[in-house]
Symmetry: C2
Subunit: 237 residues, 2 copies
């Protein structure tokens, strides 16, 4: 019921044998010979929600593309507080390329399936496959752009603005079900870590929006946007 039925997604991903890397954006540009080369390198790995694929500061020995599931990219402070620096969805490339150490941790927040490649081998392949490197560059630039907007949000927006902004982005990216409900793929804690807020503040602001009629929260992992324009107004100022 909650989320988009991860089991089905996982089965679909596992049974897909046509494309060696899950990302259509990458795969579409590969000549057949390179697809085969990629396929020969890969290893499929499944993770349960909560399991970590890579640790910040650890040696970067493998990279992967996501076939199914959602990952959080995070950094930790010495005192244990965590900050999410991004999310990764099916099709995204994860892991540190062209660098010896991982610059952030990667943790599955739903059950997930990955195509894992040894980093060195993948880098060699990229070096001889301009289409692949181009796709990686385009993705990195898009990530960079997103990271910059996130910086603006973290540095300048108030708590309600941050929550409203997140809800709007989520709504834009998700297809609502028949009842107009959207799955919230994060716990309150993760939401706080993403928005740079305490868990209590997240909870309160969601409640405020519900009381003011902008949204409904049928359960704490679901969302219905009742007044998009109103929410957008809150997000902007």
């Amino acid at each position: 019921m909650q989320l988009q039925s991860p089991r089905d997604d996982m089965d679909a991903a596992m049974s897909c044998n046509t494309c060696p890397v899950a990302d259509p954006a990458i795969c579409a540009h590969l000549p057949p010979s390179q697809r085969i080369a990629l396929a020969a390198l890969r290893r499929t790995e499944t993770l349960r929600a909560g399991e970590t694929f890579a640790w910040e500061g650890a040696d970067s020995v493998v990279v992967a593309t996501i076939r199914a599931g959602v990952f959080k990219r995070s950094l930790m402070l010495a005192d244990g507080r965590e900050q999410l620096v991004g999310l990764a969805f099916p099709g995204d490339m994860v892991g540190r390329l062209f660098g010896p150490v991982c610059d952030h941790s990667l943790t599955a927040i739903t059950d997930a399936v990955l195509c894992v490649f040894p980093r060195a081998a993948f880098e060699r392949l990229a070096g001889t496959t301009p289409e692949l490197e181009h796709a990686l560059l385009v993705q990195a630039l898009a990530d960079l752009s997103r990271a910059q907007r996130q910086m603006l949000m973290l540095a300048r927006l108030s708590a309600p603005q941050r929550v409203a902004t997140f809800l709007l982005e989520l709504a834009e990216r998700s297809r609502p079900d028949a009842a107009g409900r959207i799955a919230i793929p994060l716990s309150r804690q993760q939401l706080g870590d993403l928005l740079g807020l305490s868990i209590e503040t997240v909870s309160r602001k969601l409640r405020d929006f519900e009381r003011s009629g902008h949204i409904a929260l049928p359960d704490y992992r679901s969302l219905v946007v009742r007044d998009g324009p109103g929410l957008a107004a809150l997000a902007a100022a």
Copy 2:
């Protein structure tokens, strides 16, 4: 006196005719034929401190490499508040590649010299020059990594921690002069915009560090680190 004498830098950059793009990291990997192709595309442009090279939201028609000077990358809020999302130094590539609109503004904060290329032509060249695209990818990944640490800072660190972190990074990147002084390339306002703090808070925290003996501020554009380890302790917690 303040900064590293931008005039000299500019003259040096202007008289450099051997390398079509200022970035050694890019240029070193280019075969001679491609260097010539790049050179044919380029146009040299000089900007005075405060002039803007690209506006957030504007069509992306040109890209450039920095030969001399420092640029700020910034985003603006509707209410006029600004957030710096990064700095760009000589050798860095600026401007939006592979996208129709600029995702942030670029403003010279010192006098500067650029090698400007039409975006479309540069992209075509990149498409046929794997070494160039590889260099761009490596740079984008490094930028991304830096952006992520910046996110952590903006979301989680206290004002004194942010200021201390910045001072340490600056000290690490700069060569002090004979008197141990380091040039601060930003105004208080820009410092605030970078660290997500008000100008008053920046001023106060710098003063606090001076009074506590961690640093000295001979003038408001110069810095002497008196107690690096102590400053590092403040930055961490």
